[in-house]
């Protein structure tokens, strides 16, 4: 099995966002449940939190050897250093920005713990042989920390694991420009079919604390996290999901603490109208459903969005009232 080092806490800008120690400690408690085997923290984060929550395993990111001596109780440290040095509990972080630099890493082959950070453009190259070369360069498993300026970090991290890599670094929501922890864990679970000891149903809680810390709202359609990712409007999708959710959902929304939601609008079909009516405890003849659908589509185009439940109910009431008037007039 592989190990995940989480870099969320070192990527948070303490001087800009002013998170409290309690918030950071809360995140420390959640990250292992999301799949992080080690939580990387920095000295400022350590000082902000004070006493670290006991359960997670921590790695301290330091700027020099003196810091290691000062904070000597950690099992592992991360240091940007290519010198072997005297301390064997150091992960040597080496920045590699260009794939063509990989052969030159043989200079550091004697290092025992290495993290390679960067390689953003790996997906634009023959990444398979590059990854193989990287693994063969060092005697011990390499931790890969792909960066995301080419929007491929999660894919690179996953390909690293699929090709036998033993360790990757990632961060919650990809903060800091790294592979995205929750995307990676869901891909491992759903695509690699690995049984992993994670509880991703706490993602809404983690998202809330992340948004509080960073003062940034997670995008409505962000993979795995977005609040809208299980909202369905399109006719064929609503119909398919009603028959079997697997038709248009890659995994059960509950896995990530969410629920599916049918909304009605321009792209709805009669199935979505029937499902929505059923949700509200109503059943109407097909002739009325067609009229409701027409009205829903028209109003959605005028409003340039899906309709709210209140707007939908109003349309239904209007259509039913008009129909009654026709019958009794």
């Amino acid at each position: 099995m592989f190990k995940i080092i989480d870099r969320t806490l070192t990527a948070i800008k303490l001087e800009e966002d002013y998170p409290t120690g309690e918030m950071l400690a809360h995140m420390c408690k959640l990250l292992p449940r999301l799949g992080a085997d080690y939580i990387e923290i920095s000295v400022p984060v350590l000082e902000r939190i004070g006493e670290l929550p006991a359960e997670p395993k921590y790695i301290l990111k330091v700027d020099n050897i003196e810091d290691i001596k000062r904070y000597h109780t950690f099992d592992m440290y991360v240091l940007k250093s290519k010198d072997k040095g005297q301390i064997d509990r150091v992960i040597h972080e080496i920045q590699v920005n260009d794939v063509r630099e990989i052969p030159m890493l043989s200079r550091y082959q004697d290092l025992t713990n290495v993290r390679i950070t960067g390689l953003d453009e790996l997906m634009c190259t023959e990444y398979g042989p590059a990854m193989k070369r990287l693994k063969e360069t060092f005697k011990t498993p390499v931790n890969l920390c792909p960066q995301n300026s080419y929007c491929c970090a999660t894919a690179i991290a996953l390909e690293w694991l699929l090709s036998g890599g033993k360790s990757v670094s990632a961060s919650f929501a990809g903060i800091g420009g790294y592979a995205v922890l929750e995307e990676l864990m869901m891909a491992v679970k759903v695509i690699m079919h690995k049984k992993i000891n994670v509880d991703l149903s706490i993602l809404p809680e983690a998202t809330m604390i992340y948004e509080t810390i960073t003062k940034r709202k997670v995008s409505y359609n962000k993979a795995v996290l977005g609040e809208n990712i299980f909202a369905v409007e399109a006719g064929i999708h609503a119909d398919g999901i009603n028959k079997n959710p697997l038709t248009y959902e890659p995994y059960d929304p509950k896995t990530v603490g969410k629920c599916r939601r049918i909304v009605v609008g321009k792209h709805s079909g009669t199935s979505a109208i029937k499902i929505k009516l059923k949700e509200k405890g109503a059943k109407l003849p097909d002739s009325l459903i067609e009229i409701i659908l027409e009205n829903v589509r028209e109003e959605s185009v005028i409003k340039r969005r899906s309709l709210t439940d209140i707007e939908f109910i109003r349309i239904v009431k209007e259509v039913v009232r008009n129909e009654k008037q026709k019958i009794y007039s």
Binding site: C124, T247, Y248, R297, R305
Partner: protein
């Protein structure tokens, strides 16, 4: 020399299809014009079967069009295609669900029924003189031999190219590389890749498909689309710039993105 690739923009179809978004006729016409101006190869402009608002938009888009090819999206039924024909698009795109879960759970039919219905629809559109492309919906969860057999049949019928849709975003780069090469080799058809971002890999998957022979890449501005969206146009252009020639200026594409953003926010 960079490989030449062609962007198929589906902001006005799959992008708009995501819950919460609805463009009106004016929005669609405006965005299609901007997309045409920056050199996008093909604009998937909408679904005429939705109704008159959509048909009017497509007709106006066709009237304004200078260079881009305009396509209309259709479910696999002749009635949908008749609606599209009213708009006289350049391309009739027919979507065929090909995975078992789609065929047996959603359509409640079988593979033979699917093959026959697809043939009927393709024949109908070709017979009316249209260029036809076929999208294999949920192809990433389908049997590759079924896809190849349909591809061979479609090539014989005269279909222009086939779209491989990773409808629920479950592909990885190495998978998509394999399937792209396999389909091209066994069908001798051009392939269009349609990625979704459920695991945050739509850009990487599209890039890998393009590297392995896919000629057409589907994108949406701001990555809008069902669930976690589609392959983000700007991100794809930026990430592929060193190896692919999509014939689009990033600066101009960013201006279109700003317009899409402003319409979505208004």
């Amino acid at each position: 020399m960079k490989n030449k690739k062609y962007i198929v923009d589906t902001t006005l179809r799959d992008g708009e299809q995501s819950a919460g978004i609805a463009f009106d006729e004016k929005d669609k016409v405006k965005l299609a014009k901007l997309m045409d101006e920056i050199g996008i190869y093909q604009i998937e402009a909408g679904i005429p079967a939705i109704g008159n608002v959509e048909k009017r938009a497509l007709l106006k888009i066709m009237e304004n069009r200078k260079n881009a090819l305009i396509s209309a999206w259709n479910r696999m039924n002749v009635e949908d295609i008749k609606h599209s024909i009213e708009c006289s698009p350049d391309i009739i795109h027919i979507s065929a669900p090909v995975s078992y879960v789609q065929i047996y759970s959603k359509l409640r039919k079988n593979k033979q029924w699917l093959r026959n219905s697809l043939m009927e629809c393709v024949y109908y559109a070709l017979d009316k003189g249209y260029k036809v492309t076929v999208g294999f919906e949920d192809a990433s969860r389908a049997d590759i031999s079924f896809i190849v057999s349909l591809g061979v049949m479609l090539k014989e019928m005269g279909v222009s190219h086939i779209r491989y849709a990773d409808t629920v975003g479950v592909l990885t780069p190495h998978n998509i590389a394999d399937v792209t090469r396999t389909i091209i080799r066994l069908t001798e058809m051009d392939v269009e890749i349609h990625g979704h971002n459920d695991f945050g890999m739509a850009v990487a998957n599209s890039l890998e498909a393009a590297k392995n022979g896919a000629k057409y890449i589907d994108c949406t501005f701001l990555g809008i689309g069902e669930r976690a969206g589609n392959c983000d146009f700007i991100k794809f252009i930026k990430s592929s710039d060193s190896i692919l020639d999509c014939g689009i200026s990033k600066k101009e594409a960013l201006e279109v993105q700003k317009e899409v953003y402003s319409l979505l926010k208004s």
